[in-house]
Amino acid sequence: MTALTSEWPEHFPACCPPDVAPDVSGEVFRLVMADPPSETDTKSYLELGKGGKGRECLRAGLSCAKTREHLEELRALPTLKGCKIAAATLTPDHGKMMQTGAAGHHTLWLRASVLPEARAMFRVVA
């Protein structure tokens, strides 16, 4: 096993991401405030110190969607109205992603080796 595929960021809690989380593959969509996306746009709640206590593994990941349409619908909500939709084409080398919580919501966990480049992975599409 190479360092690329075995290393997760230090701030991830133990056993995170979950073993059942599949490798990410394909296009991934995320809401961002800036075009191009800023550093904050691709930092997790855990890194930003947000989200309160508990659910640390989820807060270590990034909220994402598998379809652009889902995020377009979310932009009807008050705190998400001004957001732009950014897309990234990812492979298993980038990390893992799985559906978590409410329908349509996914959490993306990026590997330590690619985390510094997270901002550059995403480009605004809408």
Partner: protein, 390 residues
């Protein structure tokens, strides 16, 4: 928090805050964004995140009934309409989920930026998940809830009868309007249309005030339902509403306005379901939608003319008001004689007439105003028939 919040409203205090907690997250992105909250006595509230900062999240909350939640999950009720029907409860919640402060606010004073977009439904992924659940499989049905007594599911006999009658009239008018796309037919509903749009009920689903409907024609039922759904969704957009109503007969707009009037005055929430689709109308939005429909119908409108055949049930020479029995539709209609029309001897009950009337919307009463513009004796040998057959 952002600027613009109407913060000088009544502060809500008490033990209620400590009992508030999220029961179900419906939509999330970087934390919950739309959720069902549970308070004292298991009262449900719909909550939407309206604002947030580093330390807390500001929620808008409104009490919600199960029928409204199902309406949202079936795509028949927008998040905004479900939220804004009563006074708002604005609640600040710390990042660890603990409510810290709350106050009541008037929706009309909350800036648009802090509210869900008009007409926006729950995301399709959320609704699709519901459609695949057993709770979504209810066939053709109609659930009626009284705002005054949601927990007991009790309805007055009169409420029950009025909403079912208005519902049938709406579906019949819709079927007639959809079958007459060029708008040439005037007057009574055709009998074959009536027969296809009839709805039957033989049972209620146990434990609820939900009527199982057996439509005479399922396709007609679904087509009218889709039409009602489109008009309800367009009610926030005057131009879209006018365009939708223009090709339809006035009878449909009047029947819909009457249906909304019944729901509004009786304080009801009504969810009609079929094949995974639904229409919802609640007392909180019925008044707004009804006025939008009536105003759209009256825009640039000189009234709809049509012909009726039947007998006068009553005729008052002083105020020139009349009641006329439409022998084709087998129903009585009320009207008034046009000021310029001179009438000599109108025979009540003994003579069949063919009358020309013009219908105008009545924004105040939600009833059509029929104006009699011409009449002629149609067949003096026609049998006397003052009341409809049983």
């Amino acid at each position: 928090m952002k600027q613009g919040w109407p913060v000088n409203e009544e502060l809500f205090t008490g033990d209620t805050l400590s009992t508030l907690e999220i029961d179900t997250v419906l939509v999330e992105y970087d934390g919950p964004k739309v959720a069902l909250w549970k308070g004292a006595n298991d009262v449900l509230a719909l909550g939407v995140v309206a604002d947030e900062d580093e330390t807390s999240v500001r929620w808008l909350l409104a009490s919600t009934e199960r029928v409204e939640l199902d309406g949202m999950l079936l795509g028949a009720l927008s998040v905004r309409d479900a939220l804004t029907k009563h006074d708002a409860l604005v609640c600040d919640v710390e990042r660890d989920g603990k409510p810290t402060a709350a106050w009541r606010a008037d929706w009309s004073r909350i800036p648009e930026d802090f509210l869900p977009s008009r007409g926006a439904l729950l995301p399709s992924a959320v609704r699709q998940q519901f459609l695949t659940s057993p709770a979504a499989d209810r066939g053709h049905s109609m659930r009626i809830a009284s705002v005054a007594s949601p927990a007991s599911h009790k309805l007055e006999f009169t409420e029950y009868a009025n909403v079912l009658t208005a519902h049938q009239s709406l579906w019949t008018a819709g079927a007639q309007a959809l079958s007459d796309k060029d708008g040439r037919h005037r007057g009574s509903v055709k009998k074959y249309i009536k027969q296809r749009s009839v709805m039957y009920a033989s049972a209620e689903h146990a434990g609820s005030f939900e009527v199982e409907i057996f439509p005479a024609d399922k396709d007609t039922f679904a087509q009218v339902g889709d039409l009602v759904q489109r008009i309800t969704r367009a009610s926030d957009d005057a131009e879209a509403l006018v365009n939708l109503l223009r090709p339809l007969q006035r009878r449909f707009a009047m029947a819909y306005a009457k249906y909304l009037d019944v729901i509004d005055k009786r304080g009801l929430n009504v969810l009609t379901r079929w094949d995974g689709s639904a229409t919802f109308m609640g007392t909180g939005t019925a008044r707004r939608v009804r006025l939008a429909v009536l105003e759209a119908q009256s825009m640039g409108d000189d009234g709809e003319e049509f012909t009726l055949v039947g007998q006068f049930v009553s005729f008052n020479k002083n105020d020139r008001k009349f009641k006329f029995y439409d022998s084709e539709a087998e129903e009585e209609v009320d009207g008034v004689v046009e000021p310029d029309l001179e009438l000599d001897d109108v025979k009540v009950g003994a003579t069949t007439y063919k009358i020309e009337v013009t219908a105008f919307p009545d924004l105040q009463g939600a009833e059509e105003a029929l104006i009699l513009t011409a009449l002629v004796e149609h067949d003096p040998q026609a049998p006397l028939k003052l009341t409809p057959s049983p």
